[in-house]
């Protein structure tokens, strides 16, 4: 059935369909609607699961990991500062190989404080061992939750998964979403029956043990890395099965007018929708631009990215994040994915945009397209990431600075 669902409701609906057993919860805007919905459904008996409120995100993630290791299918959700507060436990969960699904509703990090999205929260967790799937639409959010459990619980992976959705632009935005049938989801995602490493009173084991031998540490840590890399293949299998069953395909990457494009803009998450509209406009003006959206961020699908971008004239990477002191976070990863291919794009240029949820205007997309063209006609591109920020943006900031008591500031 097709319904109008917010991104948050899409997450909750996915969780309900996945027959989750345990939900540790702690509220934070713009995620709270997810746990509110789940607790309501449990209360109304629309869903059978155990819902527990914790005293912080740190305990919440710890509880999620512990529950998962008893063999319970576990879901939890957070955002922004909440994810950071839980940070050390993220690494523990992947080390315990606890296959939970965590919805992160992206919200830019303080200070200054804001409610709107960028990806410095979720990308801070990129080295944690969590698989990361980043969604563009509410439909994809729901589908990704279902796919996430299949990937997480697969013995070739057995790692926790983050499904990321943008605050406001998805979390509170309603869109038509096809809600799959319960029995079909049950067929696609059988009950979770772990075959090893779970806590059971009659079969005691020690989890999270210390290894004072460094070669043992190297071994176990590298196993997590190999498990993560396996997720690339497992994702492809799961994705094909999902398509067969539900008729929708979600790959490692997604593309828009990419095939015959000379110039490609690489993006992630919900702002890609605005990028598509801009590309359609630029095409009308005769510019052969396309979009590559990276959906799976961890493991990073280097080969697929290389295949999609090989032979293109020039590539722009829009990072909706900033690694302070370096620039866009994904840019160097994409450059390294392209370095050894034969027909490497003539220029790969880094843009940072959409920080704190600032919309990327058509002007800014135009600027990206002309920068790519310029780079091909010999203009030397900037070494540093270019901030997507306009004269209009500056005049509104200037106005605010004045009200804040900083006088007339020159740009």
């Amino acid at each position: 059935m097709k319904e109008l669902l917010t991104g948050n409701a899409a997450v909750a609906t996915g969780v309900r369909l996945c027959n989750v057993d345990y939900i540790p919860a702690y509220p934070i805007t713009p995620q709270t609607e997810i746990i509110e919905l789940l607790s309501r459904w449990i209360n109304e008996r629309k869903m059978i699961a155990r819902f527990v409120t914790y005293d912080s995100e740190h305990s919440m993630i710890t509880g999620a990991g512990a529950a998962s290791l008893t063999g319970a299918r576990t879901f939890t959700a957070t955002s922004s500062q909440g994810l950071l507060y839980a940070f050390e436990m993220l690494y523990n969960l992947s080390g315990w190989r606890a296959p939970i699904v965590l919805a992160n509703v992206s919200r830019a990090l303080a200070a200054p404080i804001t409610m709107e999205p960028d990806h410095n929260d979720v990308l801070a967790a990129r080295d944690s061992g969590f698989i990361q799937i980043h969604a563009e639409t509410c439909q994809e959010v729901l589908d990704s939750v279902i796919m996430a459990y299949r990937i997480a619980e697969d013995n070739r992976v057995r790692l926790p998964v983050i499904v990321n959705l943008d605050g406001f632009y998805l979390s509170y935005t309603r869109e038509p979403v096809m809600v799959p049938q319960e029995d079909e989801v049950a067929k696609f995602l059988p009950q979770y029956r772990p075959t090893f490493g779970y806590l059971n009173a009659s079969n005691p084991i020690s989890m999270g043990v210390s290894v004072l031998d460094s070669s043992a540490y190297s071994y176990f840590k590298y196993q997590i890395h190999l498990a993560s890399l396996n997720a690339l293949r497992v994702h492809e299998e799961v994705s094909s099965e999902f398509e067969k069953m539900f008729g929708r395909r979600h790959g490692l990457t997604d593309e828009y007018m990419l095939n015959d494009a000379d110039y490609v803009i690489v993006m992630t998450n919900s702002f890609t929708t605005m990028g598509k509209a801009a590309v359609a406009k630029l095409r009308e003006e005769g510019k052969k631009v396309g979009i590559l959206r990276i959906r799976m961020i961890r493991p990073f699908p280097k080969q697929e990215i290389a295949k999609k971008l090989e032979g293109k004239k020039a590539v722009a990477v829009i990072d909706q994040n900033i690694s302070v002191g370096s620039g866009g976070i994904l840019y160097p990863e994409i450059v390294s994915a392209l370095y050894h291919i034969k027909e490497r794009p003539g220029a790969i240029i880094s843009f940072v945009g959409g920080l704190g949820g600032k919309r990327i205007s058509l002007s800014e997309f135009r600027h990206i397209a002309s920068t790519l063209e310029g780079a091909m006609s010999g203009e030397a591109p900037k070494v540093q990431s270019v901030l997507l920020f306009t004269e209009d943006n500056w005049s509104s900031v200037k106005e605010m600075l004045k009200i804040a008591g900083k006088g007339d500031v020159n740009g």
Partner: protein, 296 residues
């Protein structure tokens, strides 16, 4: 694509209003996207919500810059300079306002040249419902302007109000009110506005010294620039004959709206008061009443 912006105040049901329009259009077979923008997340503070309606998949997100239709919940929200975010409109934007004033009065007061539709919720709701749901009423009016069928509007209202756990009697009354609003509004042409696009060059911010570039406010008293008196629908009134000067209200007020006069009596600064009701609840001798604010 047709775009609608709704403007109201936290607590008036503007988000539900956007959902009612969205669901009605969705039931009518359109692609829909709707979204509230909470702003200060506080009762009485200005809030916006957006609806996009299209025959094709919608390739846009977030704030709407140049809507086909602006729906304004109460007159105090017209022309508010400190509104966040400011809504740019073009000459083709149709404006729908809930106000007891006449169309010509409003047009001249705010210098509006656009197509303007006015309805008076207080008048329309009398005899039907005591506390009308503003969001539902404005949504019904907007749906009429958008040319949607009332059957879908009704289905949508019921769906959305059940969703926020409103009881059956109140849903029925709101549906009655909606049908009355729907019938009073005469349709006008709503168009896809000319593109809101304006070219604005890329500008790389320069480094500024910390006194400027640290996110801190050095000016004092700038909250006066915001008309906060409008953020509240009620205000506390003290019966001074019975006041014991215990100062409990003064201590509990979360917004420090109270001062104590030279005789020791509490005085409320109504510009700072948000009408939260805490002083009324805490007053040990129960002599504070909340009265409705007179707003346009």
């Amino acid at each position: 694509m047709i775009t609608v912006t709704l403007r109201g105040r936290g607590g008036q049901g503007i988000k539900t209003g956007a959902h009612v329009i969205g669901t009605a259009a969705f039931l009518s077979g359109f692609y829909v996207q709707d979204q509230p923008l909470y702003g200060a997340e506080r009762r009485g503070a200005p809030i916006s919500a957006y609806v996009r309606i299209s025959r094709q998949v919608i390739l846009d997100r977030g704030q709407i810059d140049n809507p086909s239709l602006v729906v304004i919940g109460e007159e105090s929200l017209m022309g508010m300079a400190s509104d966040n975010p400011p809504h740019e409109i073009s000459e083709s934007t149709v404006i729908l306002v809930n106000s007891p004033l006449s169309k010509s009065d409003l047009a001249s007061r705010y210098n509006i040249k656009n197509s303007l539709i006015v309805f008076d919720l207080v008048k329309l709701s009398s005899g039907i419902i005591e506390k009308p749901h503003l969001g539902i009423a404005v949504a019904a009016a907007a749906c009429k302007l958008l040319g949607l069928n009332f059957d879908f509007v009704k289905e949508s209202i019921i769906k959305e109000l059940v969703n926020i756990q409103v009881n059956r009697d109140e849903i029925a009354r709101n549906v009655d009110l909606a049908s009355k609003v729907f019938d009073t509004i005469s349709p006008v042409t709503i168009t896809t506005p000319r593109e809101a696009y304006r070219e604005s060059g890329i500008l790389e911010p320069k480094y500024h010294e910390p006194a400027i570039s640290t996110c801190a406010i050095t000016a004092t008293g700038n909250s006066m620039l915001r008309d906060r008196a409008q953020w509240s629908n009620y205000k506390p009134v003290i019966d001074y004959d019975k006041c014991t000067k215990c100062m409990v209200c003064y201590v509990y007020c979360p917004d420090s709206a109270y001062t104590i006069d030279s005789e020791g009596y509490p005085i409320v600064d109504y510009d700072a008061c948000k009408g939260c009701n805490i002083c009324k609840t805490e007053c040990p001798v129960k002599i504070i009443t909340l009265v409705e604010r007179n707003k346009r």
